[in-house]
Symmetry: C2
Subunit: 388 residues, 2 copies
């Protein structure tokens, strides 16, 4: 008897593979290649955070943790948020999650019934949209505009995209890959509109601290009432160089805290216990590290701008936040995916194709500048023949 | 303007809170209380596993990992499965997950469209069923029979519960809380039936090694063809005393490996990187630990059986596997939840109410015997006035 191989549901089968991984797979760690395709700093996690994890292991912190996260971490998150945003937050508004990605999954599990739709401001890193689809929801793209390499949001376009089945808006600001940073006046207008319509705002704030023209990016948490429909998502990955740790947190109305804790239980119980203890150290002692990282990234951004800003085929303005250059390349007839393969094979530089970031992304390339200045300088030299 | 607090979707709001946590919350760590309510050994993770995590941290294993898991861990899982089950498995059948719980969530995300149903053999730990509901699927219970404290499955009852929308059967054997262990002949009959019907088998094998009358429990992975619709779930939590680490794995047809890796990406990218390195050590060097733990649990089971088996109000037969005593209490008119509260407050012993385990669970109590013999002896003395 011949059998067809078993398959998952159609909707899951049809989820796109990451085009970043399509370019990068089999080339990770290749000698001589300068890999700037992933959204990850090349710095190992600082020692004081690793030491805290080791101390927690020694102390026997190897048992189940509470669903909402360990008490000391929720307390430290409360102190951090109060310090950064200059207002009080009740502790029961915080839920610890296993990464920003995991927080997004929990948020959509909490909100999206089959057939509900979510507005996603794009181009944007692809995972948020796929998460909605997994829950049998519908994704509606709201495209940012780009002019001279600066990205902006047309509020009317956002508001017009909503209907009776619109459950939430997903807003990643500062944005990956665009670097778009929602201005205060747009934040306030979106908050007001969402409040009136009863629509949730899912704010992906993971780049909130990697900002080059101010201390932190505008966030809904600064203006939302405690019971506004705002779920703000944060992560230890980017600002504390903890991508491999899988730790983040949600700020939400206290009224849904119980539901989020339940969802933690049904997804993975809680993040790794001793990792949570390391998170305490990161927030308590990490401000100098985060500020230093932002300074280093600022210099690196300026370094690549010296080249990217001059390449004749490139349309680019340095972003004010996050650690990506997302630039248009004129005459990239073969498409961004094929072009990235060619840059990888011929120039030895790994970039991410704009097509990986959904509608509005084709025609662009993403370069993560969270690498050493030496690597970035060399990469710019290698790219020059292809982009100039 | 007065506003009602924001709420999640009805389906999520209505998910039951864990009745175990309802009894235990606010009493965790209470001095003098003997806590036997959670499914967790009282042993810290062995040193050789903690040392491997620390070494990986020192080696800078703090970056993103591949979606399917790091290569060395998938290789070690392959070697382990081959060693335990005495047959070959291709490496691309394994996906690393952030716990057994997380593996179940991924499996149902892969398979359950809204309106699909899943047969769940019960009583069973509650989380598997709630996961189906989160995905807007339907749970159909198939009750085990209990006679003189032994649990058994009526195959006709299982087969009759399926219809055209039945996507999968969830089978936890050895079972939490019942200790039910699926016999080989039933395993083979279920495999044959599922194959004929095109129904998936989700096998929760996390207690496969904690067995007292043989080396390992019967598993579908022993008889399934590589492309049979079987998703077997394993965890480091129970056998290696790693509950707080959040690490597990899936064995599945290679044809759905890509989908499972994608789902990992969209749930949390991958489990914590240095935790995966610790998993390598656990599988490579952990057989003596697992065998020793099973021996200790065997002695503890026999210790509590001396008392439980004699208490006049208790109907109980020692289980052949897992680390729970799940026993009926005659005349528990107040219900198992209220009775557990009373045992907690009056006797200072923490047990889990049978009602926490869904239909078929009321009238029973669950006692986890993965605690020291001293604690168990003392607990039995304290329980005697209430159960005898």
């Amino acid at each position: 008897m011949s059998r067809t191989p078993p398959e998952v549901r159609d909707l899951i089968r049809d989820l796109p593979d990451s085009q970043i991984r399509e370019v990068a797979l089999d080339y990770i760690g290749k000698p001589g290649l300068i890999a700037l395709w992933f959204g990850e700093s090349d710095e190992e996690t600082p020692d004081f955070i690793r030491d805290a994890a080791k101390a927690a292991l020694d102390a026997g912190e190897t048992f189940y943790a509470p669903n909402a996260g360990i008490g000391p971490l929720r307390a430290e998150i409360q102190a951090y948020m109060t310090r950064i945003y200059g207002r009080d937050f009740a502790r029961d508004r915080f839920t610890v999650t296993a990464s920003g990605m995991n927080a997004i999954m929990l948020a959509f599990q909490a909100l999206v019934d089959p057939g509900d739709n979510v507005l996603v401001i794009s181009p944007v890193w692809p995972n948020c949209a796929e998460t909605v689809k997994i829950l049998s929801g519908e994704v509606r793209r709201v495209l940012l505009d780009e002019r001279d390499g600066r990205w902006s949001l047309d509020l009317d376009r956002l508001f017009d995209a909503a209907d009776e089945r619109t459950k939430a808006v997903f807003i990643n600001s500062p944005g990956n890959p665009t670097g778009w940073m929602m201005p205060e006046d747009q934040r306030d207008a979106i908050m007001e509109w969402a409040r009136r319509r009863g629509i949730w705002l899912i704010a992906d704030d993971v780049y909130a601290r990697l900002v080059y023209d101010r201390h932190h990016a505008p966030s809904f948490v600064e203006v939302a009432d405690p019971d506004d429909r705002v779920i703000a998502i944060n992560s230890f990955s980017k600002s504390w160089s903890m991508t491999g740790w899988r730790l983040g947190w949600i700020t939400a109305p206290a009224s849904i805290g119980g539901a989020l804790a339940k969802l933690n239980e049904y997804n993975m119980a809680a993040p790794t216990t001793f990792v949570q203890h390391a998170g305490v150290a990161a927030l308590r002692d990490g401000d100098p590290y985060v500020d230093g990282l932002a300074e280093r990234l600022h210099r690196r951004r300026d370094l690549i701008t010296q080249s990217l800003g001059r390449f004749s085929r490139v349309r680019y303005t340095p972003p004010d936040a996050a650690f990506y250059a997302f630039f248009a390349v004129e005459g990239m007839a073969e498409g961004s995916l094929a072009f990235c393969r060619r840059l990888r094979d011929e120039a030895g530089v790994g970039l991410a194709p704009g097509s990986a970031f959904g509608p509005g992304g084709e025609g662009y390339l993403r370069l993560c500048f969270a690498s050493s200045e030496a690597a970035l300088s060399e990469a710019m030299e290698r790219l020059q023949p292809y982009l100039d």
